[in-house]
């Protein structure tokens, strides 16, 4: 029944989307709402779009799984808008380009570069979109017991319909509405949780004890095949059958339902910190690499520099009337996001002590929606679970709307230029392609996959935008080679490490989170190749024009 909480969100989305239909007449309406959105409304829409499942559920889940250090993720997400404000917002808006590939062609005059950029958009949007749909499926499974595919298909269908009807004009209102919705649906339950758990639990959350022994008989449903390192012999009920595990390594099968006895020693999982342990409490990200500082920096580089390269974020700034308004939008967004991100810590810390068994099952992404019923088994718990479910659904919808729009734009505007009709069809096709992918991707970690999308964006579009806006000597060949190197060293290397599965350590860190070296490498390549090349004629005027405020230009 709780799953029905998502219904009002979907209905409101469709209604507001339908309202946009009346005014939708051109490609420009569809992609950038004809550039008439005010900075504050747009900042709310940017934040609404940006606060995805990764922020609403993923960060708190990562705190349960990796410890307090996971709170660096939202810092990077927010800092991304500071960099956007400083380096990109106003000049990018003044290019008049509708999409990043459009910018590439406007600045460097190369159609080949435009098509290549459009392909990069497809990679980034795909990496970002699939986990959103996955999270939708998982959340509905946890709170409503519906099969995984229901949530995925419902999310996909409502996104495709809203977009095909209303385009960006609809998306702007939908997302601004959803920002407010998400803010309220995240903060109110957080405050209620803090009050409802009582002083003892609050104190416990600030002085967490290591989750070393099961306080009561604990049932764990493993989401994946999980390698457990058992320290003391322990007898578990594996799918109802008693089984004694000796010291050493044991594999719990995917979907296995094991009941651990009260007082038994909690098995460890290599590379993952036990909730409440000293490692867990340390405010740096380790991910089992043994190099916490490098791991933290790598995540920060990817998230802070990747934000400006996310195709669905960039296109939002074009809905502002001019460069100055785009800059204000970025500045307001830093404040709005900062407000929201004060709260994942509440869910993460409470989850660490109230739901530590998620560490074993791997379903940490569900910590936020699972907390209320753990704290209060009565009506209040149910109500707040419903509210959080609605908020989580708003999170998937808003982000997916922007991403499907960016995907549709890349196909219908940059790869195969066509009219509004083709854009609408592309939006539906994009959703239709992503839904089956998400159905296959049931096992992924939402926060981790989203971060890989940031790493790709930081290694490709970030150098293109920063050098394209501030450096007159950038050439099409330099941009092309630099982006290729960036794409291979981010997406290529991460893909390779998925196949090779290196042992946790420095190598695994550098392969799995390559941003720390792939971003400088992409910048360096772009600069060196450009220096060996001649800039296209008129490149200097094109670049300088980006810095002229529009009030002074005729």
């Amino acid at each position: 029944m709780i799953a029905l909480a998502a219904l009002p969100v979907i209905l409101a989305t469709l209604l507001i989307g339908a309202r946009g239909v009346a005014t939708l007449r051109s490609t420009s309406d569809f992609l950038v709402a004809s550039r008439r959105i005010s900075p504050t409304l747009n900042a709310a829409a940017v934040s609404g779009e940006y606060l995805s499942a990764a922020s609403f559920l993923g960060v708190a889940g990562l705190v349960v799984k990796n410890g307090v250090g996971a709170l660096w993720y939202p810092v990077g997400f927010t800092a991304g808008y500071l960099l956007m404000l400083v380096l990109v917002a106003a000049p990018m808006r003044r290019t008049g380009a509708l999409t990043v590939p459009d910018f590439a062609e406007a600045r460097l005059g190369s159609p080949r570069l435009r098509r290549f950029s459009a392909l990069v958009v497809l990679v980034i949007a795909g990496l970002y979109l699939v986990p959103q749909f996955t999270a939708a499926g998982q959340v509905l499974t946890v709170v409503g017991g519906t099969p995984y595919w229901v949530g995925v298909v419902v999310a996909g269908a409502s996104v495709a319909i809203t977009l095909a009807l209303g385009g960006m004009r609809a998306a702007t209102y939908v997302q601004a509405f959803q920002f407010v919705l998400k803010l309220v649906l995240f903060i109110v339950p957080a405050v209620w949780l803090l009050l409802a758990v009582g002083a003892d639990t609050r104190r416990e959350a600030l002085h967490p004890a290591e989750y070393s022994r099961f306080p009561a008989a604990t049932e764990v449903q493993f989401r994946l095949d999980t390698r457990l390192e058992v320290g003391e012999p322990i007898t578990v009920l594996a799918d109802g059958v008693p089984r004694t595990l000796g010291p050493g390594e044991h594999v719990a099968p995917e979907d296995g339902r094991w009941v651990f006895p009260a007082g038994g020693r909690v098995p460890e999982i290599r590379g993952v910190a036990l909730p409440g342990s000293e490692l867990w409490q340390r405010p740096l990200l380790d991910n089992g690499s043994g190099h916490p500082l490098l791991a933290t920096w790598s995540v920060l580089v990817a998230t802070a520099l990747g934000t400006m390269g996310l195709p669905h974020v960039i296109v939002r700034f074009h809905t502002n009337p001019d460069g100055r308004a785009a800059r204000r939008t970025a500045a307001i967004t830093v404040g709005l996001l900062g407000t929201f991100y004060l709260f994942p810590a509440v869910y993460g810390l409470l989850g660490g002590i109230l739901l530590p068994e998620l560490y074993l099952s791997g379903a940490t992404d569900t910590a936020v929606v699972a907390l209320p019923s753990r704290v209060d088994g009565g009506v209040a718990g149910t109500v707040f679970t419903a509210l959080l479910t609605a908020g989580a659904f708003a999170a998937f919808l808003a982000t997916s709307l922007g991403l499907v729009l960016a995907l549709a734009g890349a196909v219908a505007h940059d790869l195969l230029p066509g009219g509004l009709r083709r854009l609408r069809v592309s939006a539906i096709v994009a959703a239709a392609v992503v839904v089956p992918l998400a159905l296959l991707a049931v096992r992924i970690d939402v926060g981790a996959v989203v971060t890989s999308a940031f790493a790709v964006a930081a290694s490709t579009f970030c150098p293109l935008l920063v050098l394209g806006i501030w450096w007159r000597r950038l050439t099409p060949r330099g941009a092309f080679v630099g982006m290729t190197v960036g794409l291979l060293s981010s997406a290529g290397v991460m893909g390779t490490s998925l196949v090779l599965r290196p042992e946790p350590g420095l190598t695994a860190l550098l392969l799995g989170q390559p941003a720390l070296w792939s971003v400088p490498l992409a910048f360096l390549t772009m600069v060196l190749v450009s220096l060996a090349d001649d800039p296209p004629p008129g490149a200097e005027s094109t670049m300088l024009r980006l810095h002229l405020d529009e009030t002074r230009t005729p």
């Binding site: 005014t23 007449r25 490609t27 420009s28 004809s34 550039r35 008439r36 307090v68 250090g69 709170l71 810092v75 990077g76 927010t78 800092a79 808008y81 500071l82 960099l83 404000l85 400083v86 380096l87 106003a90 008049g96 380009a97 509708l98 459009d102 406007a106 005059g109 159609p111 104190r203 600030l206 409490q281 340390r282 405010p283 500082l293 933290t296 920096w297 920060l300 802070a304 100055r324 800059r327 970025a330 500045a331 830093v334 404040g335 900062g338 991100y341 004060l342 810590a345 501030w470 004629p537 008129g538 005027s541 094109t542 300088l544 024009r545 810095h547 002229l548 405020d549 002074r552 230009t553």
Partner: protein, 114 residues
């Protein structure tokens, strides 16, 4: 709805490029006048200077703070209102800092263009 002003369907740059592509002729890129060029050059230089200041602030947070937490684990033992200082440094401190930096940068950037 008729009181809403309608704007061009395609961006100016895209229009130029598309025309050139369809007509098969090279369209010269838009030129700046001498005074515009000087002004743009001046603005760009000043903006770069302010950007450098803001970026240093951002780097201090993103590079410096993790470094500090790494070398000073004692911050985990020091508590303010029962919350470890090291946790506050990650969970709370960055947001007002980023908001202040953004506000400062916005004012500088707008003054440069005045």
């Amino acid at each position: 709805m008729s009181r809403l002003r309608r704007v061009t369907v395609t961006s100016p740059q895209t229009a130029v490029v598309l025309t050139a592509r369809r007509g098969g002729i090279a369209v010269p890129p838009p030129r700046l006048t001498e005074s515009e060029r000087e002004r743009a050059e001046r603005i760009r230089r000043t903006q770069l200077r302010w950007a450098a200041v803001s970026l240093s602030g951002g780097a201090a947070l993103l590079v410096g703070l993790p470094g500090l937490l790494h070398v000073a684990p004692v911050l985990l033992a020091v508590r303010v209102a029962d919350v470890p200082v090291a946790w506050l440094a990650v969970a709370v401190l960055p947001y007002p800092f980023l908001a202040l930096l953004a506000w400062w940068q916005l004012r500088r950037a707008e003054q440069t263009e005045r």
